[in-house]
């Protein structure tokens, strides 16, 4: 089994890359969740133009591929704004976050619609505002419905973070590529299969961590609602 | 009652059959012999395991202990050098070709017409040509009074019609033993009659052994050769319908019959 192990320096590099990957996933998750909630609610707005604007965003951000959006963000958008360049971390978080937000919005919308109508009617009877209704009545009930698919979506975004390596951000995937390129000049080249298997396992661990975090959240939200 | 002269079908012999689901022993060392061509009706309280008798004969549930013979051939065992050993799937399939079952919820293949439902097994299992299977399917569907519904999908048929297609589908395999598991229980009351009519004809023909679990006591007393009262994994008592329905030996049988007949 020794053969499956890399040397300490290489693990150090992979760890640095992993930390960058974690930054990208946290940033993308934050932006994606913000967009998901805003656009998911907007899809159910009374005002037609708001609904349609949200729909345009969702169709656009889902229809375009995350990787194409990423390159466009990194290389085309700065030029359009007259800026020389955009930090790759920012471009990565924007592209992945906006992409995630579009998928997340559909999850949020579906969950809100799954909350029984009677709940809305009850808030009207209690003379609550729309905002109070969403915050205190609808969202708390929508969260248990949102969490399971949202966990899967987050793992998809984690997998997507590997794409930022292509715009020169030193994440886990790029560290692996750098080690591969250094093989050419190295005296003791790393067997690439072992390198990539190690990298895949690190992604697997990150994915399992995300899955476990969501399981904890699911359990907590289930407890809040008792057996229903 | 039916004429006794031309009885065919296969015998069924269950010896010390045990079947348990976890802690729950559903068949408790059950012994049961059914003669070729006999019509046996099994009654008993729900949860008593009477359906399980049919299901272990059909191999839908595997038995834990004991033996079952169909026409003198072991269903779950093979003789190897004089020793009884667990049977291979191939052996089970070969014995199972004598048995077929009709279900409470029909279990028709929803993606096939009535005709295709009846044609499938003869073609795939018996190697009939499509033409032969088609002719047979039409005959059988005519026999159950559905000659005009050949190309209807199950979703276009009433419950009673579905159940008659299911019976025709089983008949197409020319089984020697037919098992009927509460075949009228899922039907609206006005549709029960058409299914019972078909069953009556089958029973009267004496061409096969029939074992049925049913709550249709009228039908049981009219057509059954023997009625079994099944309770707690065992046969509590058995006998001709006249005896069992009118003068049962056990108090539990009386209580059960009173409860069933009063509603």
């Amino acid at each position: 089994m020794d053969d499956l192990i890399l040397n300490a320096r290489q693990y150090g590099n992979l760890l640095e890359g992993t930390l960058v990957t974690i930054q990208v996933i946290v940033g993308s998750f934050a932006l994606g969740t913000f967009m998901a909630v805003v656009m998911g609610v907007a899809r159910l707005s009374d005002k037609k133009w708001i609904r349609q604007a949200a729909l345009v965003y969702i169709e656009f951000a889902r229809g375009i591929s995350a990787i194409i959006l990423l390159f466009w963000m990194a290389y085309a958008l700065p030029i359009l704004f007259g800026a020389p360049s955009m930090p790759p971390m920012l471009a990565g978080i924007l592209a992945l976050g906006l992409n995630m937000g579009a998928y997340g919005a559909e999850i949020v919308r579906g969950a809100i619609q799954a909350v029984p109508k009677g709940q809305t009617e009850a808030t009207i009877a209690l003379n609550m505002t729309d905002r109070q209704r969403l915050r205190h009545v609808v969202f708390p009930q929508a969260v248990p419905i949102i969490l399971p698919p949202y966990g899967n979506l987050t793992i998809e975004v984690l997998k997507g973070t590997a794409l930022v390596s292509l715009i020169a951000l030193n994440d886990l995937a790029r560290v692996a590529q750098v080690i591969r390129q250094n093989n050419v000049i190295s005296d003791s080249p790393v067997p690439l299969a072992i390198l990539y298997l190690n990298v895949l396992v690190i992604y697997l661990i990150l994915a399992q961590v995300i899955a476990q975090l969501f399981k904890v959240a699911e359990r907590r939200s289930a407890r809040r609602f008792g057996s229903t | 009652m039916k004429p006794d002269n031309k009885r065919t079908g296969a015998s069924v012999a269950m010896r010390q059959v045990v079947k348990a689901f976890g802690e729950n022993v559903v068949l408790n060392k059950l012994d049961l012999d059914v003669d070729p061509g006999e019509v046996v009706v099994i009654i008993g309280p729900s949860g008593s395991g009477k359906t399980t008798i049919l299901r272990v004969i059909m191999t839908l549930e595997r038995i834990d202990e004991g033996t079952i013979e169909i026409d003198g051939r072991h269903l779950y065992h093979e003789q190897k050098n004089g020793v009884l050993t667990p049977a291979s799937e191939k052996h089970i399939r070969s014995v199972r070709s004598d048995i077929s079952m009709v279900f409470q919820h029909f279990n028709l293949f929803p993606h096939m017409s009535a005709r295709e439902n009846v044609m499938l097994a003869p073609m795939k299992v018996k190697g009939m040509t499509e033409d032969e299977a088609d002719v047979q399917a039409q005959e059988l569907l005519n026999k159950v009074g559905l000659g005009d519904k050949l190309d209807h999908r199950p979703s276009e048929l009433s419950g009673g019609q579905k159940q008659r297609v299911a019976i025709a589908r089983s008949l197409a395999m020319e089984p020697k033993v037919m098992l009927f598991d509460e075949v009228t229980s899922a039907l609206d009351p006005e549709l029960v009659g058409e299914v019972l009519t078909v069953l009556r004809e089958l029973a009267a023909s004496g061409e096969m052994t029939m074992m049925m679990v049913t709550h249709e006591m009228g039908f049981a007393s009219e057509m059954a050769d023997r009625v079994l009262m099944f309770d707690r994994g065992q046969i509590l008592e058995q006998g001709p319908p006249d005896k069992l329905f009118k003068d049962p030996d056990h108090e539990r049988t009386k209580t059960f019959l009173r409860a069933v007949l009063s509603h």
């Binding site: 169709e59 359009l80 997998k159 299969a193 990298v199 895949l200 992604y203 | 839908l60 993606h111």
Partner: protein, 225 residues
Amino acid sequence: MTRWDWDYAWEITPGLIQGMLTTILATLLGITVAVILGLFLAIGRRSDRKWISYPLAWIIEFIRSTPLLIQLFFLFYALPLITFIPEPIRFLSPLTALVVGLGVHYACYCSEAYRAGINSVDKGQWEASTSLNLKMTTTWRSVILPQAIPRALPPLGNYFVGMFKDAPQGSAITVAGVLFVARALQSADFRTVEPYTIAGILFLIVSIPAAIFVRSLERRTFYET
């Protein structure tokens, strides 16, 4: 410097369309691999033999939880160096590596869609098949799959669209798809706005109608019993 040059845009569009056709080709080949392999994975996962079903479940989980991009790197860079694998298998052309990568990755997703479809087939269908003494292969082919596959079609359609969006990752292993062409233009002409914008538009032109078509599949009704 003008930010958008129409002449330049027109000039590069044919090349980008050419790249797009390669991306579409990879997707079509990849989905073919995925739907076929995925079906076998789904059936294998239902096997009574634990030495088949357990490893399959684990492999599917592993492939689904890790980035396609790294899997492509593995196929393209690492596989050729594994000397005990016969040469025709380990030396994959870029397009073949992409098709295999997409196909295997999405086969794992497809197997879940099939599995859900298979599980949704009523237990009575298996029992009726037993009572008619059908062979296992006949039961699968004539009874179970004809009911399970239509139910799996909407998610399979979604994976088709999803695969199309992942196919440009082939540019990282030198498949000359739409993104590869755009990147080549960037390094040759030092222009980014037109190549990447046109690539994005081409993408939307294909993927939005495809997504709408898939959603119309979801609204179809299926057999009732």
